[in-house]
């Protein structure tokens, strides 16, 4: 137990630069952490606010049809689904293929203890998120259906165990994907596609929730019956919580712990094998010299950057997912027609609203797809190569921006064309459907790069630390989304005749910002780059 705690503590200290904050004497490092912490608090309260608003809308709808008791199970299912989906691609890097594998496994510690420590870290990451979803929803539920104090004790206890089983399922799926894809020559591409399909399948379920708010009668019972059938723990959870049934509570906790223990035992048995398979790359050792390609400097840097991008599954999933969703949105609107959405979602005038606002909706997806916010950090310990090359820093910046635009621009173009056809846009609307997301794509890439230059991390042992949990990534993703949603809401508040001029103004302002930021990268960015050390 003591060793498990020691391992877990070391991993926790490595998260979010906690160790650096505790032990660094450098004021800059400490203030970086404080800024990160403040951002974290801001994100926490923003999420809490969004969740409470959602909870309130859902419980009001369920209450109107006399089914408020579905609320706890529904939110538990949401928390479980999010845990499952986000764990699928965390398995790589956290459980297999982590950089300190050799060092950890050389220690006199049982393999099952190592596995348990890594799964517990995953649990801690998920538990916080589950608490954020289920606790507020439980409290709001109690406002509609008055509860005894015991309800809150049970709610807290149950919430602590909610992430365990979905986390195990997600990890197992992640490992399975890695195992299947490792049989292919281009294992990473197969891995990315499989994980993307699974994530999209998970996400498609979440699309049912707006429908619960707008049309609860038709969907709630059907949906919840399916949830109870697919994931029986939801039923036990509901009984334990809504009827404060101690036996169901104990059963829920018991099943979660037993499954966790079995999983630790099973993975512990194959842990070394899994890691060996994962880290052993095929070496044919039969190369014969042949004719070599020659490229320009910028093409060489771009190709290298692109290979780096596709070499990391978590990097691709985290940054390309938004754009894939944008294309799916375009296809959905083309197939189902806006008028049908109007009927399903029961939003009057949906078709008219979406025509003018479509570019800003697409911008929201573009802002989610920032590769540059971690592209400097991801060079890690090989960053010395870029620093020692006879290449100007701005050329390196350009190659990184080009990779981001390679991900955003073509998919944005496809989505724009699909939306233009589906929404029967006029010429001016088509122009801005193409132009607005494009100027935002450039801005996102530039902002991400600048932030990564300011807050780099070359000492990561797990790519997740820079791809998902770093300050530049959080600021670009959440800030980008916040700004785009704010602009979107702002446009909807304008009279319809002012919406297009508003969109034009936004596009022009962002285009100017693109130029200013490019200039800033070429001046201040270069100075920062020169000082960077890996």
């Amino acid at each position: 137990m003591n060793k498990l705690w020691i391992l877990l503590k070391v991993q926790i200290l490595g998260l979010f630069g906690i160790s650096k904050f505790l032990h660094s004497k450098d004021k800059k490092e400490r203030s970086k952490f404080i800024r990160f912490f403040l951002l974290f608090i801001f994100v926490f309260f923003s999420l809490l606010y969004t969740i409470v608003m959602y909870d309130y809308a859902i419980i009001s709808s369920l209450n109107s049809i006399g089914l408020p008791q579905l609320m706890p199970a529904l939110m538990m299912a949401v928390a479980s689904l999010i845990t499952l989906v986000t764990t699928i691609y965390k398995a790589n890097g956290l459980l297999i293929g982590f950089k300190d594998f050799d060092m950890t496994m050389a220690m006199p510690i049982k393999t099952s203890t190592v596995v348990a420590s890594r799964l517990l870290l995953l649990y801690l990451m998920n538990a916080g998120f589950c608490l954020l979803i289920t606790l507020p929803s439980g409290i709001i539920y109690s406002l509609f259906v008055p509860q005894s104090p015991l309800f809150f004790v049970y709610l807290t206890l149950l919430t602590l165990f909610v992430p365990l089983v979905p986390m195990l399922i997600g990890t197992a799926l992640g490992l399975l994907i890695s195992a299947v894809s490792s049989r292919f020559r281009h294992a990473n591409v197969v891995n990315i596609i499989l994980a993307l399909i699974l994530t999209l399948a998970g996400m498609s379920l979440s699309f049912a929730f707006p429908t619960i708010i707008t049309n609860p009668q038709a969907f709630s019972k059907v949906l919840m019956n399916s949830v109870y059938r697919i994931y029986p723990l939801t039923g036990i959870y509901t009984r334990a919580l809504c009827q404060t049934d101690t036996l169901s509570l104990l059963l829920f906790v018991f099943i979660s712990i037993i499954l966790f223990a079995c999983f630790v035992f099973l993975i512990g048995k194959y842990f070394k094998y899994l890691n060996t398979v994962y880290t052993t790359t095929r070496a044919r050792s039969n190369y014969r010299m042949k004719s070599l390609e020659v490229s320009s400097v910028i093409a060489a840097l771009y190709k290298r950057e692109l290979r780096r991008y596709f070499a990391s599954i978590i990097y691709v999933l985290n940054t390309a997912f938004g754009m894939v969703m944008a294309v799916i949105m375009g296809v959905a609107l083309l197939v189902f027609k806006p008028a049908q959405f109007e009927t399903i979602l029961e939003i009057p005038g949906f078709a008219d609203i979406i025509v003018t606002l479509a570019p800003m909706v697409l911008v929201t997806f573009v802002c989610l797809s920032c590769t540059t916010s971690s592209s400097i950090s991801l060079d890690g310990r090989s960053f010395w190569i870029l620093k020692s090359l006879p290449v100007k820093a701005e050329t390196i910046f350009l190659s990184k921006i080009m990779v981001n635009l390679t991900i955003t621009l073509p998919l944005s173009l496809i989505s724009s064309v699909l939306l233009s056809i589906a929404l029967k846009m006029n010429f001016i609307q088509v122009v801005f459907m193409l132009l607005t997301p494009a100027v935002f794509a450039v801005l996102t890439a530039e902002v991400g790069l600048f932030l990564n230059l300011m807050y780099p991390n070359f000492s990561w042992t797990n790519e997740t630390a820079v791809v998902k949990q770093s300050m530049p990534t959080l600021i670009t993703t959440l800030g980008g989304m916040g700004v785009s949603v704010a602009l979107l809401v702002g446009l909807t508040k304008l009279p319809q005749s002012f919406q297009l001029p508003g969109l034009v103004a936004i596009t022009v302002i962002v285009a100017v910002a693109d130029l200013i930021l490019y200039r800033l990268l070429k001046t201040k960015g270069v100075i920062i780059f020169r000082k960077l050390q890996c």
Binding site: T281, R282, A283, Y287, A300, R307
Partner: protein, 237 residues
């Protein structure tokens, strides 16, 4: 070929890693740079290679300041760090192709040199494999090949013989001698004093960031072994 003038580098907290260092390496020199752990060798080497930024003093490569025109300096020098962390996601040949593109090496010249040096170091068969499958020594060999294919005037190496097998180590020494015979200069750090004694015509000993001895190898060591001289200087300075 390489002039280090009043170079100082302080790290966070104000401690000087290198203090007012002056060195002059001429064309054809094989220059050994020795000192105990933390003496300032790697800091100096990284500054020469243009990897480390510095504020005090200057470093001139073939008369060009690394601070004022780093790109021009880097074009004529090659640097190999003590632990060559290369791009794991590229194959060896792709990495060499990348380096060839960056330094603008022509197709024929590139193919010939890659073949020549990878044959010499016994890495040709592995060039089609991902770098992630390489051992430390193989990565070191690849880093050496990548440094040689663009024909640098100045070769900067940090602990170049660590991880190399005896044959590769011997080959690298031969390559270094051949390069210097053609007018290039080699500046390297090492803890293996026997290598310095046999290979270098000049040496510099650094302690606590300060240069404590520098000159022709024969003059610095006199009648004693380099190990004795080194121990004496380190203990008494």
């Amino acid at each position: 070929m390489l002039k280090i003038e009043n170079f100082s580098k302080s790290y966070k907290g104000g401690k000087k890693a290198v203090d007012d260092l002056n060195l002059h390496i001429k064309a054809g020199d094989i220059f050994g740079f020795i000192g105990h752990n933390g003496a300032g060798k790697t800091t100096t080497i990284r500054a020469i290679a243009g990897v480390l930024d510095f504020e005090e003093g200057d470093i001139l490569v073939d008369g060009i300041s690394i601070r004022r025109d780093p790109v021009a300096c880097k074009q004529i020098l090659a640097y190999i760090p003590d632990n060559p962390d290369l791009y794991d996601y590229l194959t060896g040949i792709k990495y060499l192709g990348f380096i060839g593109d960056i330094y603008g090496i022509g197709k024929e010249e590139r193919e010939a040199d890659i073949k020549k040096y990878s044959d010499m170091l016994g890495l040709t068969d592995n060039l089609g494999d991902l770098i992630s499958s390489y051992s430390h020594g193989m990565k070191q060999k690849l880093a050496v090949i990548s440094a040689l294919i663009h024909h640098p005037k100045l070769l900067i190496l940090d602990e170049p013989f660590v991880g190399l097998d005896p044959k590769a180590s011997h080959t690298l020494k031969e390559i270094i001698r051949e390069m210097c015979a053609q007018g290039c200069s080699v500046f390297f750090s090492t803890h293996v004093l026997e290598v310095v004694e046999k290979l270098c015509n000049k040496i510099a000993i650094i302690k606590g960031g300060k240069l404590i001895s520098c000159g022709d190898t024969d003059k610095v060591k006199g009648d004693k072994s380099l190990e004795d001289v080194f121990m004496e200087l380190i203990d008494h300075e």
